[in-house]
């Protein structure tokens, strides 16, 4: 099989739903609505045209309700499109949410066979792989227990173990891994890496942008049912953070201050001076802060802080700490922040900026988590931070 073979191809794919509220449909409501206008409609997915090559891992990101799960359902064939078509070549396996195929009264062992049968794995294969499934899930003492006594994490572990052993050509993952504990999440991600090495195709819906960035070869950004961007993970994820993350996403930006001095505009530049939002580990990063002071302010302090997209506080400093006292500001001007070398690793980050008084009593203007940027690590080094290292060998 050549690696350029298409695994998933969608043309003009769309799914329209009737808005019918939360209540399930009944004959009564159907009869009652006979004379009335047709109910409101909305497109969960509209005019989606894309291809996924075999062996690629494609992340699907977007705010809640953007159509991510509809897209996965259409590819899996469980949702019938309203228009267009989608083709998927090979055996598809959806990672079931919280053991959808489980029966609470059956034991773990019985549920493994049930779940496998639902996923279309021949019984013989399951029998052969049973020990590996149990070992992977790490539940060997609990297999004869009814799964109703399992924790939600144990449910997911068992479900993932079965799905992983089902050896799919196309794996659809819909935000389920977040339930397991950290150790199991790492195990799952390891398993996904193994599938990637075996040239399997993976469609990966997640809000864990860090994971998407790390695992996906490319990313689709959905918004209101439309694919608004597709491409390299850092750029697309950055665009997502910039444009849509307010909509039910994890980032909560805010600004406050007396506005005696204001941050007017901020420009990110890379080492070569080009405007960008994506930086490289180990290279320089420049931030130009254009400000306006409405009156003369004595001894102001410019500060910044950086958080990861998950909210982890990474670093914060200001002109006071760095001992770059500013006499006074008035009118308009530019303050330049140089971070060189940039010791952050791959991921999405949020920059906060502030202008305040020397004694911290007056906050003139603070923009919290306002400026997202992405970092790409091409150095090959691993870990949480990039350390400037030098080796010398004497013999």
């Amino acid at each position: 099989m050549s690696s350029t073979e298409t695994a998933i191809a969608a043309v003009g794919l769309g799914k329209r739903y009737r808005v019918r509220g939360l209540a399930p449909p009944t004959l009564w409501t159907r009869l009652a609505s006979l004379g009335r206008r047709r109910p409101a409609e909305f497109w969960a997915l509209r005019d989606a045209t894309f291809e996924v090559l075999r062996g690629r891992t494609v992340g699907v990101i977007g705010p809640n309700g953007a159509g991510k799960s509809s897209l996965l359902g259409l590819v899996a064939g469980t949702i019938t499109p309203t228009c267009g078509r989608v083709e998927a070549r090979g055996r598809i396996c959806s990672l079931l949410e919280l053991g959808a195929g489980f029966h609470p009264d059956l034991t773990g062992r019985e549920n493994v066979f049930l779940n496998a049968a639902i996923l279309g794995i021949p019984r013989e294969d399951v029998r052969r792989r049973y020990d590996r499934i149990v070992e992977f899930a790490g539940l060997s003492e609990f297999m004869e227990e009814p799964v109703r006594h399992y924790s939600s994490g144990m449910y997911v572990r068992l479900a993932f173990a079965v799905a992983a052993e089902s050896d799919p050509d196309i794996l659809l993952v819909d935000e389920v891994l977040a339930v397991g504990d950290v150790a199991f999440q790492l195990k799952c991600l390891d398993r996904i890496r193994a599938l990637q090495r075996q040239n399997r195709t993976i469609l990966f819906v997640s809000h864990a942008l860090q994971t998407v960035e790390e695992f996906c070869h490319e990313v689709l950004l959905l918004h209101h049912g439309t694919i608004v961007a597709r491409g390299e993970p850092p750029e697309v994820i950055l665009r997502y953070i910039r444009e849509y993350m307010g909509e039910g996403g994890p980032v909560f930006t805010q600004e406050f201050g007396t506005r005696e001095a204001e941050i007017v505009d901020v420009t990110f530049r890379d080492e070569a001076g080009r405007e960008t939002g994506v930086f490289e580990t180990g290279r320089a990063m420049y931030v130009e802060i254009r400000w306006r002071a409405h009156r003369r302010l004595e001894r102001p302090v410019f500060g910044f802080s950086i958080k990861t997209a998950n909210g982890l506080y990474v670093f914060g400093s200001n002109t006071q700490i760095t001992q770059v006292p500013i006499e006074a500001i008035e009118g308009e001007g530019v303050t330049r922040l140089t971070i060189a070398p940039l010791t952050l690793m791959s991921g999405q980050y949020l920059l906060s900026l502030s202008i305040h008084s020397w004694d911290h009593a007056q906050q003139y203007h603070r923009r919290e988590d306002w400026y997202p940027f992405a970092v790409r690590n091409t150095t090959g080094a691993l870990g949480a931070f990039f350390l400037e290292t030098h080796w010398s060998v004497t013999s």
Partner: protein, 284 residues
């Protein structure tokens, strides 16, 4: 897996299709078996008497009818006839209720995995068939006991029983498919079915015999047609004819017509279910 990796799933507004189309594969059999096992084990796990409940419930009901009919009406139907009638009726009634919820009760599964949706009502019916098999064993044990005490006994007609069970199973499957699809689209179907089922029980010769309605039939001959055109009537009468020596199977032409409901309802069920299943995931 190499052979399977060439399959192509094409999903269009007319529904998902697998190419090359396969009519049947061994893993389908595994799936049906697993679903039946889930249905049976799931129901009786944790209850002390387990599978015995499948037999105890119809046995109790038969007992109630025997006692109260003889108390109230002064003339009960013979115990054999009531047992055979109630057990067969219970099979259909259980299939209707289990089939009805077979899709709505598996919402997460239907939304996430593509497998032939018809397997859910099918396995619900087959699980009930298994229960019916158990209760038939009890039925014949009771009949044998009654024979020792001067009952009519069993003759070679009993060999026809598998055919009757098959015919009834086909009817049950047709009803299960129809109602499962209806229940997804209209959630109040189950209330209507609950009422309809008790009405159906009273117009069917479960706790009575067609001999009982003989006076009515003589006054109004059309009643005989109406009674026999009930899809379950010929099945109940045939089941009694197979299991009880003193009951014969010689229905009027309307009885033979009544038997034709089975292929009709099964065909309609398959047709409706196939059309409706496209929208299951949207409505669950």
């Amino acid at each position: 897996m190499s052979g399977e990796s060439s399959t192509l799933l094409v999903n269009t507004p007319s529904g998902p299709r697998i190419i090359p189309a396969r009519w049947w594969s061994p893993s389908d059999l595994d799936l049906i078996r697993a679903l039946i096992a889930r249905e049976l084990k799931g129901r009786y796990k944790g209850s002390v008497l387990g599978f015995l409940w499948a037999v105890i419930v119809p046995l109790f009901m038969a007992g109630i009818y025997v006692v109260f009919l003889s108390l109230l009406m002064g003339r009960g139907l013979s115990v054999e006839r009531i047992i055979v009638g109630v057990f067969a009726w219970q099979y259909t009634a259980q299939c209707v209720m289990a089939g009805l919820n077979s899709i709505t009760g598996n919402g997460p599964l239907v939304k996430k995995v593509l497998f032939p949706r018809g397997f859910l009502p099918l396995s619900a019916v087959l699980a009930q068939l298994f229960n019916y098999g158990l209760s038939l064993a009890v039925q014949f044990a009771v009949l044998a006991m009654l024979t020792l005490r001067g009952g009519p006994g069993v003759d070679a007609d009993v060999l026809g029983l598998p055919l009757v069970v098959l015919w009834q199973t086909a009817l049950n499957l047709g009803l299960a498919l129809l109602l499962a699809a209806a229940q997804v689209h209209f959630r109040d179907t189950q209330h209507l079915v609950g009422v309809a089922l008790s009405a159906w029980f009273f117009v069917s010769p479960v706790m009575y015999d067609l001999e009982w309605v003989r006076p009515v039939i003589e006054a109004h001959p059309w009643v005989e047609h109406a009674v026999w055109l009930n899809p379950i009537t010929p099945i109940l009468v045939a089941a009694r004819a197979c299991c009880i020596r003193s009951v014969d199977w010689n229905p009027p032409p309307a009885g033979w017509v009544g038997l034709l409901w089975t292929p009709l309802i099964l065909g309609l069920g398959i047709l409706v279910f196939r059309r409706a299943q496209r929208h299951f995931a949207d409505l669950l």
